[in-house]
Amino acid sequence: MPLTLLKYGLRGRHASFRDIPATPDLKPSYDVVIVGGGGHGLAAAFYLSTVHGITNIAVLEKGYLAGGNTARNTTTIRSNYLTTESIRFYKEGVSLFETMSEDLGFNVMFSQRGQLTLAHSEATMRSFHLRAEMGKHMGVRTEVVDVKTVRAMCPHLNLDEGGMHEVMGGLWHADGGTARHDAVAWGYAKRAAERGVEIHQRTTVTGFRKDGDRVTHVVTDRGEIAAGQVLQAVGGLNGQVAEMAGFKLPIRCFPLQAMVTQPLKPFLDILLSSANMHTYLVQSSRGEIVIGGGSDPYQLASTRSTLDQKEHLAEGVLHLFPFLHKVKLLRQWAGITDMTPDYSPIMGASPMRNYWLDCGWGTWGFKATPVAGKRMAETIATGRVPDILLPFDMRRFDNFALLNEMGATAASH
């Protein structure tokens, strides 16, 4: 490697290259059309082209590559959920992140630093015991820790002993971590494009042409294309795209707001959440404090930021770390989350035979990018929904077989 690098450095002319090719012309027909060029769609394209040998794929993205919720999340990766079905699924997601940089040959900066969720009440501690036992049962590293351990893990934390938000303990999840969100999408896009997958940016889907219970054509603002199979993974617009395809999804949209401070010296080497204060924070590799957790209290499809949410998030952070009171905020942003009634995603079959769903990702989609892509690719390639995805079928709402994960996050919903 060093010799190659030296030779490359000494060579006069360097051919320019780009990771992601420019948008080509649309072909008349594709084996698979993926609607949505975010992390999930790109991961599915990667697995279809590398594992299943299907390369005649078009990824259609309305805006720019991975510019929606893939760019707007707070990059938390974890598997400490409540139900066995969810834990099994997210555990596979975490394990794929562990080897992602090597698998893709692309540094996604995965940092498995562990996640600590704080409890400020006895009731929260009881729910943590349940989550810890469920996690252990499924082979995930999750345990309840006492205040002494919390203090040792996070010496700067304000425990507010005897106060209104006294820390009573926490849920320690050693498997938790973060990764660079853009790199995850770019890595998948680059390797998929190398296999021949076409990534069409600034291409809006405007409708579908159907024959009975099959989608035959995808209509876009750049022309109509025939499609063998269609995958829908469009984040905040999932309800609207499903309506174009002719069915309704049990989804409501809420903006989730986050913000980031100026860079500071390293003081926080874990991911920290507070379930009661609906705040979570992590120090990025640049030193910025990424603060998340503010869901708007009413339905909205606008990515504006509000002072109310900024104050709410700052309040939580200042309670945990009062010494941050003079720190400046650099940016504030929002993403549109597509929330399902049971706070679990919808994956697998749709009412159309060759139309597959990867949606309802709400506030928890980034961590599932690799596993959702891998399993949706398997679904499309084999025409059969794998067992691990069956509990997430959209028909669970008609059968009252809900998968309640409402308590498994610190976001305020």
Partner: protein, 83 residues
């Protein structure tokens, strides 16, 4: 500060209000509309008619709001929609 006009108390800070969700088309009393009423809630990109409550005065009313611009077009008490 975003203002929401309570039909009884006038314009107030929106943090004084509780969101109660869209006015539903489906009726949960009818068995064939039950899952629709429980799970398939209205989620348009555009005008949404919805229930709100002014918490201090316990006034329950209806607001018509645009879900993309967040503009509140009208608020009124139930069954008293202005012509």
């Amino acid at each position: 500060m975003k203002l929401l006009t309570c039909p009884v108390n006038g314009p107030r800070n929106i943090i004084e209000f509780q969101y109660l969700g869209p006015v539903r088309a489906a009726n949960p009393e009818l068995p064939d509309q039950l899952t629709e009423a429980l799970f398939y809630v209205e989620n348009p990109l555009g005008m949404l008619t919805e229930w709100w409550r002014h918490t201090p005065s316990n006034t329950i009313f209806i607001a018509e709001r645009h879900t993309v611009t967040d503009q509140i077009v009208a608020t009124y008490l139930p069954n008293r929609k202005p012509a």
